[in-house]
């Protein structure tokens, strides 16, 4: 019998389903153990994307919604590489992001926070990684905002990130936080992650090497997806 194609997910790196500190997880977490599965063709395959799926400004949130005007707030670049656990780049994979605007307000019918909507900011973008697994976005640094978990809970500034990888079993949605934000340590959603080192891997450092003078600051966020077992083939030295 061949071994599973992807390394098993190390669930200690992830929040448990039931994490009472984040109240909504209480009724929405399965109570039964997950069924262990030897991966089949259904798990080692997954959707593929190409440049035809994307428009030219899809990764530029500063211009992709407005009609000529510029959004308010701190202009930033968010960039990094999508890698697997073996350190191999994950090329041509779809990275999608969404976020609040500079005042902490989402463009969503359900968001009733009193922070102002920005007529020039939509809050979503998407990019394909290149052959080296590299991606970048241009956007506005999101603001923190209050929410009803505890009466005085505030989300740290964050960007939601969705990544596909090359197979359905690599599918991941996470959130990127910003270096130095004092709200990170107080956030119930961050606290669902039991391992403090794992939390650090969600915090993007300020990257002055990539900042554009008189224009944009930059934050670097590398994303690691599950690695896969691989045999070295002469005709496929790069692995699978």
């Amino acid at each position: 019998m061949k071994p599973a194609e992807f390394y098993e997910r190390d669930r200690r790196m992830h929040p448990p389903a039931y994490a009472p500190v984040y109240k909504t997880s209480v009724p929405r977490s399965p109570g039964q153990a997950l069924l262990t599965l030897r991966q089949t063709m259904s798990e080692i395959t997954g959707p593929t994307f190409g440049h035809n799926d994307l428009g030219p400004n899809d990764n530029d949130l500063i211009v992709n919604f407005g009609h000529g005007g510029l959004p308010v707030g701190e202009r930033i670049i968010v960039h990094g590489r999508v890698l697997d656990e073996n350190g191999r780049p994950v090329p041509r994979t779809l990275v999608e992001i969404w976020q609040a605007n500079a005042s902490g307000r989402y463009r969503h019918k359900k968001d009733v926070y009193l922070g102002a909507l920005d007529p020039n900011f939509g809050g979503c973008g998407r990019a394909l990684t290149d052959d080296d697994g590299y991606y970048y976005f241009r956007t506005i640094k999101p603001g923190p905002y209050p929410w009803l978990n505890y009466v005085n809970s505030w989300r740290p500034a964050h960007i939601h990130v969705s990544v596909f990888g090359t197979s359905f079993s690599q599918r991941l949605i996470t959130q990127m936080y910003f270096e130095g934000d004092p709200l990170i340590a107080k956030c119930p959603i961050v606290q669902t992650i039991p391992d403090p080192e794992a939390v650090q891997r969600l915090i993007a450092p300020l990257d002055m090497n990539t900042a554009v003078p008189m224009d944009c600051l930059a934050y670097k966020f590398d994303i690691v997806l599950r690695g896969r077992r691989s045999t070295l083939f002469e005709n496929r030295l790069e692995g699978n």
Binding site: E8, R9, M13, H14, P15, A17, Y22, T24, S25, V26, P27, R28, S29, P30, G31, Q32, L34, L35, L37, T40, M41, S42, E43, T45, G46, P47, T48, G55, F65, L83, E85, N86, G87, I97, W98, Y106, R107, H108, K109, K110, G122, C124, R126, H160, S162, F168, S169, L172, I173, T174, Q175, I189, T192, D195, V199, R201, L202, I223, V224, G227
Partner: protein
């Protein structure tokens, strides 16, 4: 001192939150941004196969519908071939078949539905087949790591006995949670329960 095993570690998951539509289905969030939203067509018109419609509702531990869930679907074509380079028969996969889709619920009721074609049985590497199935993946506010499950078809009962996933469910009464109900020809109902009585079997893929 032995050498370190310097593998990287997987990025931790975080909830998709209540506003997942902004990023993954902005039209549903109430604004038009991208020229095309992704995941709206699983099987383009003309792709061979029986056209089907699948609908359902996701319920939480209290029985209330989860109205902000986003579900992704992944499936093989009518011949059991995945449109992916890892499938040895990928060259024969139906043209125009993407196999992937994403749906959100109707905000007031929590009902979701998608249209696709009925998948074929998927061959196993070691011989034999998996019964026709859809792979589903759910995220929502309060779901910390995306939940994977499968939907099988009630007409394939004969194949269910040999399907590797259904066979591996030790509590046999839970097998039914992965099998859709036929409502009419080509129309299936697949309700998902996150927690409690009748909890759907979720899979560690």
């Amino acid at each position: 001192m032995v050498q370190p095993l310097n593998y990287l570690k997987e990025t931790p998951s975080q909830t998709a939150g209540p506003y997942v539509h902004i990023g993954l289905a902005p039209g549903a969030a109430g604004f038009r941004l991208f020229e095309q939203e992704l995941g709206q067509v699983i099987a383009a018109p003309g792709v061979p196969g029986e056209r089907i419609r699948v609908s359902g509702v996701v319920r939480d531990g209290t029985g209330a519908p989860v109205k902000d869930v986003l579900i992704e679907v992944w499936q093989a074509d009518a011949n059991g071939i995945y449109p992916h380079p890892e499938d040895p028969r990928v060259a024969e996969c139906a043209p125009g078949f993407r196999g992937w889709g994403r749906v959100i619920t109707e905000f007031e009721t929590g009902e979701w539905a998608f249209e696709t074609i009925r998948p074929g049985a998927v061959p196993m590497k070691a011989g034999g087949v998996q019964a026709p199935h859809l792979t589903l993946w759910l995220v929502a506010r309060g779901i910390n790591v995306g939940l994977a499950t499968r939907m099988y078809f009630p007409e394939d009962a004969g194949l269910h006995d040999t399907d590797p996933v259904l066979r591996s469910i030790e509590q046999r009464q839970r097998v039914a949670t992965l099998i859709a109900k036929a409502e009419a020809p080509g129309q299936y109902r697949f309700d998902i329960r996150l927690q409690g009585e009748g909890e759907t079997v979720f899979i560690d893929i």
